[in-house]
Symmetry: C2
Subunit: 356 residues, 2 copies
């Protein structure tokens, strides 16, 4: 292809590759979507939505949504920044805080968008090796002289670190910014948002994609000190002033308001997660302790890439990463009970060498 | 404010400031929104929309919307790139094609996001002075040794340049990329999209915000050679893979499908524009010839900033730019006939010194 108009970065960049979005019928356990629909109030809202208002630009301050999230977490709305999904929030955080003069560190095994952002914004990045059990080696991070980006629970492992460890990181060097990506926090972890009043060097990033079943909507948010929010707003307004559309703002509000739906669906997912890990153990899989809506599992006698292919042939889509240290693991999103029963039944046949 | 975590760019950046979004009742003629609602089919679509699908990520390829736009323009879907509003598309174009080694030029009077993008992506930028009548001095642009960004019709002037001039630009140097921002093309101009098969050095950017009454939705798109689209995809996937939500994709499709609504509303706006310019002329205003859904007008005897304030006090919101060469102009979005009658009546009283 003629790439004479591509700039140096475009020629050299290796972009992020998201998990496959399938059109056909299959059991889709590959992109950590919630198996349950969003709150029924979303349907109500949409049926009453005045489409005429779409002729106007959205509220660029997303005021109502900020108030709703602020109310949920007991923080001030000035401590919230909203974006078009948490990926955009993270990208704008890299743009606002990091550049070639600000070294950052993140785990060697983590969300694979971080190295892409680092490259995109020319940020010198150090990979800190996770411990053998895939926990975050907190002393190594404390010793790192720069800012830190971690996912908690981590992806694709699902492993959670306690808030006490994050607090240690914050205390060990108040001149470093710690970005905590909590995309999966609602499935059993404890959010670090409670630390943002005490520490101005933490930015907590969340999303409505997973625990509120709204991946299709693209709403993410960051919570932190006002000075961090202001920097994010500057980055956004140097890129795209209106990032969240009118409908998305309104739908996200009702998703937060329906607390019962949120509690019930996340509890169901955590229960199914436990069942799935237990069943996997019975057929020889070793599964990392997960506080996410997915599990990371490996089998001593089977090659993960082959299991991935066999499941795919049977219409069960999971995620396999051909990367150092994790190339014998499978990441399996937690689906409905029925979906997981079918997954386990298929894996059981494979492991026992039965006809599929 | 403590800004110790802001990087150099954040400290130095002057972000874009969009026109005010008002909550209260007023005649809002300040951000070039369409005074007519989107196609009634949008309401139908929404009332039948299956909210359960929002639990899944959107189609990252926006396949159906691309097919729809491709069909509308008679191009191939591989020649289309979609983004979260045309501002995002433009930002990603700067990110993909330009950097500190690629000088670009744009008019001194144009969309004020271009200098912000230039600064954000460190692109050395030359401002080429518009002619006295605010037309684009095509020979000066042809002589410029680098890429070019123009809005056609231009903002905030509304002035259109003919496709023959754009073709001259493309022919004069096939090593330069010409980005033509056609946010306002549907109000009487002729799109350059017909040139994308002949020239691989043109990128045409459009939006559903204006002529399809969907500013609240955030959908923009670029059309050009496949190699340009690939570069934009690389830039996007280094930033945020899922930029357009599921509902926005579907709503944009029906807006394109309802050709009659589009034709009727844009014709009404062009008619009202002519009426408004004629009425303004009667009370001494000089209005630039506009092919946009706004007009740019000045009065020899009245200070534009004062007129702006007087209108504001009467609940009529228009846009005033306190910038060199245009600080005695007013940019007025074309509203409904009723809104423009009220605008003219108010301006008439001001000009005639009557009690407001």
């Amino acid at each position: 292809m003629d790439n004479r108009f591509w700039n140096k970065k475009t020629r050299e960049q290796t972009p992020y590759v998201p998990g496959e979005q399938t059109a056909g019928a299959c059991i889709k356990l590959n992109t950590n979507e919630n198996p349950y629909p969003p709150s029924p109030r979303v349907r109500e809202l949409i049926s009453q939505f005045d489409t005429e208002t779409l002729r106007l630009y959205p509220d660029p301050t997303s005021s109502l949504l900020k108030e709703t999230i602020a109310g949920y977490y007991g923080i001030d709305k000035s401590q919230i920044f909203l974006g078009n999904g948490s990926d955009e929030v993270l990208a704008l955080a890299f743009q606002a805080f990091f550049d070639q003069t600000t070294p950052i560190a993140y785990p060697d095994v983590t969300y694979s968008f971080y190295p892409v952002y680092s490259s995109n914004y020319s940020v010198p990045s150090t990979l800190i090796l996770l411990s053998e059990d895939f926990t975050i080696p907190i002393e190594d991070f404390k010793a790192f002289p720069g800012s830190i980006v971690i996912a908690n629970p981590n992806a694709p492992t699902g492993v959670f670190i306690e808030l006490s460890a994050i607090k240690e990181l914050l205390l060990s060097n108040r001149e470093r910014l710690v970005i905590v990506d909590e995309a999966y926090i609602d499935f059993g972890g404890e959010s670090a948002v409670g630390l943002i009043n005490e520490f101005d060097n933490i930015l907590v990033v969340q999303t409505v994609s997973k625990s509120r079943s709204l991946a299709g909507l693209r709403v993410g948010y960051a919570m932190g000190d006002l000075s961090l929010v202001k920097a994010l707003e500057c980055a956004r307004d140097s890129f795209n002033s209106y990032t969240i559309d009118t409908l998305a703002q309104k739908i996200a509000v009702v998703a937060f308001e329906d607390g019962a739906w949120f509690e019930n669906t996340r509890a169901a997912i955590m229960e199914t997660r436990k069942w799935t890990a237990d069943e996997l153990a019975k057929i020889g899989f070793v599964t990392l302790p997960s506080k996410a809506n997915f599990i990371f599992t490996t089998h001593p006698d089977f090659c993960a890439s082959e299991l991935y292919e066999l499941l795919r042939e049977k219409g069960i889509l999971i995620r396999y990463f051909n990367k150092p240290r994790i190339d014998n693991f499978l990441r399996i999103s937690i689906g409905t009970n029925e979906q997981m029963i079918q997954l386990i039944s298929t894996l059981e046949k494979i492991v026992k060498g039965e006809q599929l």
